[in-house]
């Protein structure tokens, strides 16, 4: 009978001798490694010694295969010392002790340090690069308040990003803790004891599978690609990226004759370019207001009422349009691009009543404009309480080009700087909205 389990990947190696021994004590004997899983054979519970060894960094060649003379010498030496080879995953080799007297795989702290610590450091660097990549991409989208898209994507994206960061932080923390612990033991002249995070398998499965599904779903949601198409597409992209990484490593090793470390860094180049492409370039484009915006043609028959303001520093402008169906749609326009994007749909059935109420108290604004005052001010207490005007709205009009006129519900009307409305013009604008509301 065979079984398999998700490798407890919340520690850096993905497999440990202590874990395999624990599984053997429960009657599950290690057979081989698969992609992200370990395969076991059911048997009688017993005490079994396993060893997971790492070939030292300087002797690990980039594209060395298991049947190469170099590896075979190593395996034969281990076998003669009482360790039977079971399987390997890259530089990790899994052995089982054939007798109790077999000497531990690593007995010299200096040799252990040469084998293991470069692996730890490499893993830590890759995790930190992944963290940076995820932070600059997801964080750039989610955590900058004026990025309105974040709020519209909803809980799926937030949950997905939370799980991703939780996973990364746990792994980085574990690698850092392991490095500190091992350095401490090595400085005392001891081989560090192996340990692994005894996370329940179900916890790992739920965390990693859930994270993957939510991440894929949220990316599809953000890009508009259907999930059925986006999921295999993203997996394919990931596989291509891994293949590219391996190809560059081999190129660096064989053709460019780089050192092992140099070839590893060359292999990381696609990820570094991805970091730059997905984070820095959008930030630069955003500063120049040159980000492409999804275009959307307004429906036929829609007429602008008044053009409204720049909302602060993004260069966005909201254009209010209305028709007779009691709906108004707001559009955002990136300044200088001429492109519009549908932002939201507002219901204006209450506009008429609100404007009537507001206009009866009109002298506040009528006087304001008729006197030609063009200043930006905070809404008065009356406006806040009766008209639902949010305080601070006018603070966005810092450039003096637009001025707050009136607000009803979610709609705000502004006037272009230098333009003053007479009371008649003001009444006409309000009348149009009232007619639309009716």
């Amino acid at each position: 009978m065979f079984g398999w389990t998700i490798r407890p990947r919340l520690y850096e190696n993905g497999i440990s001798a202590a874990y395999l021994s624990d599984m053997a004590a429960k009657g599950w004997y290690f057979r081989r490694l698969g992609w992200n899983i370990a395969v076991f054979r059911k048997g009688v519970p017993a005490k079994v010694r396993y060893a997971v060894d790492v070939m030292d960094a300087e002797h690990r060649k980039v594209d060395e295969k298991i049947d190469s003379p170099h590896i075979q010498d190593y395996l034969q030496l281990c076998e003669e010392s009482g360790w039977k080879f079971l399987d390997n995953d890259g530089a990790l080799y899994v052995f089982v002790a054939e007798h109790e007297e077999a000497a531990p795989m690593q007995t010299d702290p200096a040799a252990y340090k040469a084998s293991i610590l470069p692996l730890r450091k490499g893993k830590l660097i890759r995790l930190l690069l992944s963290f940076l990549l995820i932070y600059l991409t997801l964080g750039n989208v989610l955590w900058i308040p004026h990025r309105y898209l974040a709020w519209e994507w909803g809980p799926t994206v937030w949950l997905g990003s939370l799980l991703i960061f939780t996973d990364l932080i746990l792994r980085i923390g574990y690698v850092v803790w392991t490095i500190i612990r091992e350095r401490r033991d090595l400085s005392l002249g001891q081989i560090p004891e192996e340990s692994y995070g005894r996370w329940p398998v179900w916890f790992v499965f739920v965390l990693e599978t859930g994270m993957l599904l939510i991440m894929l779903t949220s990316v599809c949601q953000m890009t508009g690609i259907p999930v059925w198409l986006g999921t295999p597409g993203l997996l394919l992209q990931f596989l291509l990226l891994c293949a590219l990484q391996e190809g560059l490593q081999k190129l660096g090793w064989r053709k460019l004759h780089l050192s092992r470390e140099g070839a590893d860094w060359l292999g990381q180049l696609p990820f570094l370019l991805l970091i730059i492409g997905m984070s820095v370039i959008p930030m630069i484009l955003e500063q120049q207001n040159r980000l492409p915006v999804q275009t959307h043609e307004p429906p036929a028959g829609w007429q602008p009422v008044v053009e409204a303001a720049d909302f602060g520093w993004d260069g966005e402008r909201t254009i209010l349009r209305y028709d007779s169906s009691f709906l108004a749609q707001t559009y955002e326009m990136w300044e200088g691009t001429g492109k519009e994007q549908l932002r939201s749909i507002l219901y204006t059935s209450e506009i008429g009543a609100l404007l009537d109420s507001f206009y009866k108290k009109g002298p506040l604004h009528g006087d304001w404009w008729s006197q030609g005052r063009q200043e930006v001010r905070e809404p008065t207490e009356l406006e806040t309480e009766e008209l639902g005007i949010e305080e601070g709205m006018s603070w966005h009009l810092g450039d003096g080009r637009w001025h707050y006129l009136m607000r009803a519900g979610n709609q705000v009307l502004y006037l272009r700087a230098g333009q003053a409305l007479s009371e008649e013009q003001l009444a006409t604008a309000a009348q149009k909205l009232c007619e639309a509301a009716r």
């Binding site: 070939m55 300087e58 281990c78 010392s81 690593q106 007995t107 010299d108 200096a110 040469a114």
Partner: protein, 106 residues
């Protein structure tokens, strides 16, 4: 790698070099080291493989012949020099320690 470019050797390194005063292959090196140290020193295969590679890279040992898959190594002149230096260093440690401890006992 070890202790500032082999200025001093770890126990495992010391006994490996001792064992290689005569041509020996992998598991025989571990067995000889254990014998010379009267069972005190155990050299694991992972450690042995790493250190053999390091010593060969530093020209302290060399492969002299092979029998099938087994490679036999022997210490070189440079390796013998390093071993001798380590032996003298350890002797000095023991001698100075002996003098000081005997003075303390008086």
């Amino acid at each position: 790698m070890a202790r500032e470019q082999y200025q001093s050797l770890t126990e495992q390194m010391y006994y490996i070099l001792l064992a290689l005063l005569e041509p020996r292959c992998g598991v025989d090196i571990s067995a000889r080291a254990k014998q010379v140290s009267r069972g005190r020193i155990q050299i694991g295969p992972g450690t042995l493989y790493t250190l053999l590679g390091k010593f060969e890279g530093e020209d302290m040992i060399r492969a002299v012949y092979s029998e099938g898959r087994r490679r036999y190594y022997q210490i070189t002149g440079k390796g013998r020099y390093m071993l001798q230096k380590e032996y003298e260093r350890l002797q000095l440690l023991v001698e100075e320690g002996r003098i000081y401890l005997e003075e303390q006992d008086k």
